[in-house]
């Protein structure tokens, strides 16, 4: 287990900027130590090139008081307190996903510790209920009927002050054509003391915890909520659904009606009632989800807001851990662009908080930029697949190996989820954030994404090549202008997640003559979205197709952040092959293989790539990730998907294991014979092509490529080829488009396409 954890408020910064560093010390101790390093290679395995960091002298390198900082997961919405009401009705539509788990708060102000307020919710037996208190005694009415999971049910509590009568109504809505819901459950009670909403804030999907940490909430609800409403009289049961459907018809009796379809991209919860009691969501619950009126006629929430008037809350949502800063790290004006990490040492443990330093405004730029895949790092932040995903082991083809960070993430679910996880109620995780400790984005961790990508930095340092570092966040914000200063750009091993602005920016820079070295596999695959309302968070909707650990429900394929349709760029009309010549084909995680040079490698246009390699037919039969340069996730060329006709396939991988299988979108109908031993499309293609503006693209199509750079102190064919490409890409001489197209890119072997 980890004893110290930290995170920064930003993932990239320029010299002169200041980062806030938040730290939690999870064991006894007085002080933790901070020390700044420039990171060169994060692989500390004995077979690797060695863990390489360079200390950076900095006044922040010192001891700080240790403290534990709690994290409060679970989403809700906070709504303002109501005016004093003699009689009233609270009503809401609920689509609970875990009613069997018992006590959950849905709408109201009830605070158990204070025995005050009133709230609709789920009781310990999974039944709809209303709880209330007058400061001294607590009462509860239960419907006597279990709430059905994943069906819309109306819940309402009405207090008639004149009659001294409190009524609870639980009314299921028809869920499918042949569904005949039972008559509403109506339970009433005469009360001597009036239940009091209290002068207390209302919450959706949680209960307040008074005193102490204001961020703490309890009784988190899993499921969707729609149309929370407050009226200033006791509505009879038959008037409840009409009131929820048309709140203005209540006239002067309308107190508040929150329209959850409004302002979906934000955290705002709009009240259309007279008091404008607008609220805010907490911890990024999922909006742009289907509501009780959704009938399949519209799939974009922007086209039918009334069909999307729901929010899905989860007890494990987390946007911002919200820790207080322990130190401010001012980046010196002269700090060179690079990958950095602040080491936190405490009680015999350490954590590394990584961040990227981009060039200072107006600084002289290096000729080449390394583009750090921070959108992808965020999408993968804090995964739980080893513990939660039944097919994890069989897809890896090795026994599950649990590292300390894995054990910590399993035990501390409050640190939030990755977009590869499912929530505790089984629904897919659409949002992930970097505003929390991200235990798999660390040096000295598993070779994946961030840590694997440090092999590219290690190779650039070994070359003595001046380079700058920029990240997805700059590419998203500035588009092609972020890349414009550079003659060449190098990716890491797995730039999988791209926002539209990032995709446009990269394509625009290439169209202007940029030269791209794509050193990875399964890149440019999923559309992702950033939001100005939620800096640091990334949204992913896993729509039809794709290698997925969950699937977005029908009707929920459009991003809440942008309204854009989500899913694979391939399905959105921008297959990766159009951009970089290759696109995701297959994956397997046991061992990596090698490339065999093809006909394209003998083309004079590609002579610079193989200079000095002689006639060796096999490339990369070594490497730090699976023992070869071709492995993990593989991309192939495909003329039908947009590989340019003049692209040269320089080499292709072969000899993949049984664990490698094609990605589902490659297969129209399943058939025997799909694995890496049998299927010809389970391979990586290395591709080169020129662009009309004098630029070029070189793609390796393999995640394992970059981790093969360092083998034998960089004296190997993978490093030689990569260096050859970089040297030529940095020459001013424009690339010329070939007069006649070279050999056509291959069509898929799959007979059905």
């Amino acid at each position: 287990m980890k004893r110290v954890l930290g995170y920064a408020d930003r993932i990239s910064a320029r010299p002169g900027d200041r980062l806030a560093i938040m730290v939690s010390c999870e064991a006894a101790g007085d002080r933790f130590e901070a020390a700044l390093f420039r990171l060169i290679c994060g692989d500390d395995s004995p077979a690797g090139p060695g863990f390489k960091v360079e200390p950076v002298a900095h006044p922040a390198n010192r001891a700080y008081p240790a403290r534990r900082q709690p994290t409060h997961a679970g989403s809700c919405a906070r709504l303002p307190a109501l005016p004093a009401l003699a009689s009233f009705t609270l009503a809401v539509l609920a689509w609970p996903t875990t009613p069997e788990q018992g006590r959950q708060a849905i709408l109201g102000s009830f605070v158990a510790a204070q025995r005050r307020g009133l709230a609709l919710g789920i009781d310990a037996a999974g039944q709809g209920c209303v709880r209330f208190g007058d400061g001294e005694t607590v009462g509860e009415l239960s419907s006597g009927r279990k709430l059905p999971a994943r069906r819309w049910t109306l819940l309402a509590a009405s207090w008639d002050a004149g009659e001294r009568h409190l009524r609870l109504v639980q009314q299921e809505l028809p869920a499918f054509p042949a569904h005949a819901p039972p008559p509403p459950a109506v339970v009433g009670s005469l009360l001597a003391a009036a239940p009091d909403l209290g002068d207390l804030p209302l919450l959706l999907a949680a209960a307040a915890v008074p005193g102490g940490d204001p961020r703490a909430t309890a009784e988190h609800y899993n499921g969707k909520i729609e149309a929370p409403l407050v009226a200033a009289r006791a509505l009879p049961p038959e008037a409840l659904l009409p009131a929820l459907r048309d709140p203005p018809a209540l006239g002067g009796d309308l107190v508040a009606a929150w329209d959850l379809a409004a302002e979906i991209p934000t955290d705002r919860v709009l009240d259309r009632g007279p008091g404008a009691r607008h609220g805010r969501t907490v911890n990024l619950p999922t909006r742009a989800v289907t509501g009780s009126l959704w009938d399949g006629s519209e799939h974009d929430w922007r086209g039918a807001p009334a069909h999307y008037a729901a929010i899905h809350f989860h007890d494990d949502d987390l946007y911002d851990a919200g820790w207080a800063p322990d130190l401010q790290l001012a980046l010196p004006a002269g700090l060179r662009s690079g990958v950095y990490a602040l080491r936190l040492s405490f009680a015999g443990d350490e954590d590394w908080v990584p961040f990227f330093v981009t060039p200072a405004a107006g600084a002289k730029r290096a000729p080449v930029a390394y583009l750090a895949a921070t959108a992808t790092y965020t999408a993968y932040a804090n995964p739980h697949y080893a513990f939660d995903d039944p097919i994890d082991e069989v897809t890896r083809g090795t026994a599950t190996i649990l590292r300390p960070e894995d054990l910590h993430l399993n035990a501390h679910r409050e640190l939030g989820l990755s977009t590869y996880d499912t929530h505790s109620d089984g629904s897919g995780v659409c949002f992930a954030t970097r505003l929390r400790p991200v235990l798999n984005m660390r040096p000295r961790s598993r070779l994946w994404n961030f840590n694997a990508d440090t092999f590219v930095i290690d190779w650039l340092e070994w070359l003595g090549q001046p380079y700058d570092v920029i990240t997805d966040e700059e590419l998203h914000a500035e588009g092609a202008a972020a890349l414009a200063p550079y003659r060449a750009v190098i990716t890491g091993s797995h730039p999988e997640y791209y926002t539209t602005a990032m995709s446009d920016g990269l394509a625009g820079w290439l169209a202007g003559g940029g030269r791209l070295m794509y050193l990875g596999g399964n890149g440019f695959y999923w559309r992702a979205a950033y939001s100005p309302h939620f800096p640091g968070a990334v949204e992913v909707r896993r729509a039809e197709g794709g290698t997925r650990t969950w699937a977005a429900p029908a009707g929920e394929h459009h991003h809440a952040f942008t309204g854009e349709r989500g899913g694979l760029w391939r399905n959105l009309g921008r297959p990766p092959q159009r951009l970089v010549g290759v696109g995701f084909a297959a994956e397997g995680f046991d061992v990596s293989s090698y490339f065999r040079r093809g006909e394209g490698s003998r083309d004079p246009r590609a002579a610079f790539v193989f200079a000095g390699l002689g006639d060796s037919a096999v490339i990369g039969d070594h490497g730090g990730l699976g023992g070869g340069a071709a492995g993990i996730e593989l991309d192939r060329a495909d003329a039908l998907l947009g590989t340019p006709p003049h692209a040269l396939v320089l080499a292709s991988s072969e000899g993949h294991s049984n664990v490698y299988v094609p990605t589902p979108e490659e297969i129209l109908a399943m058939y025997p014979g799909l694995d890496g031993v049998e299927h010809p499309d389970v391979r990586a293609d290395m591709v080169f092509f020129e662009t009309p503006a004098g630029g070029a693209v070189w793609s390796t199509g393999s995640i394992a490529w970059s981790c093969a750079l360092a083998w034998r102190n960089h004296d190997n064919d993978v490093a030689r080829i990569t260096t050859n490409v970089l040297r030529r890409f940095l020459e001013e001489t424009p690339f010329a488009m070939p007069v006649s197209a070279g050999p056509a890119a291959p069509a898929p072997a799959t007979p059905s396409r």
Binding site: A386, T400, L407
Partner: protein, 102 residues
């Protein structure tokens, strides 16, 4: 459902010789069956010393509940650890202990 034939010691020998990489189709069936055991109780390895030492564990199958550890079952070779898990699963799925004659 594919059932593992406890007489097929040749498949066990094949795995012992090469736990990772290309396998015969029949060994792959055995491994698929073994690796799709339910999460609750599934064998796994916990890192004791990074890259040097691993301990046998069983997953709880419940979120937040830690794996059960077997400190007396430690390995300093990942292939030996894979072999130990293979033998445990062989016995679990065939009802017969896996012993390879030398």
């Amino acid at each position: 459902m594919y059932e593992i034939d406890p007489e097929r010691l040749d498949l066990a020998r094949e795995f012992r010789a090469r736990p990772h990489g290309v396998h015969s189709a029949e060994l792959q069936r055995v491994l698929n069956r073994m690796r799709l055991q339910p999460l609750a109780g599934r064998y796994a390895l916990v890192v004791v010393e990074p890259y040097r030492r691993w301990m046998l564990a069983r997953l709880s199958g419940r979120r937040g509940v830690p794996p059960t550890l077997f400190p007396e079952r430690q390995f300093d070779d990942i292939a030996e650890a894979e072999w130990a898990i293979f033998r445990l699963r062989w016995e679990l799925l065939t009802g017969r202990a896996l012993e390879l004659p030398e």
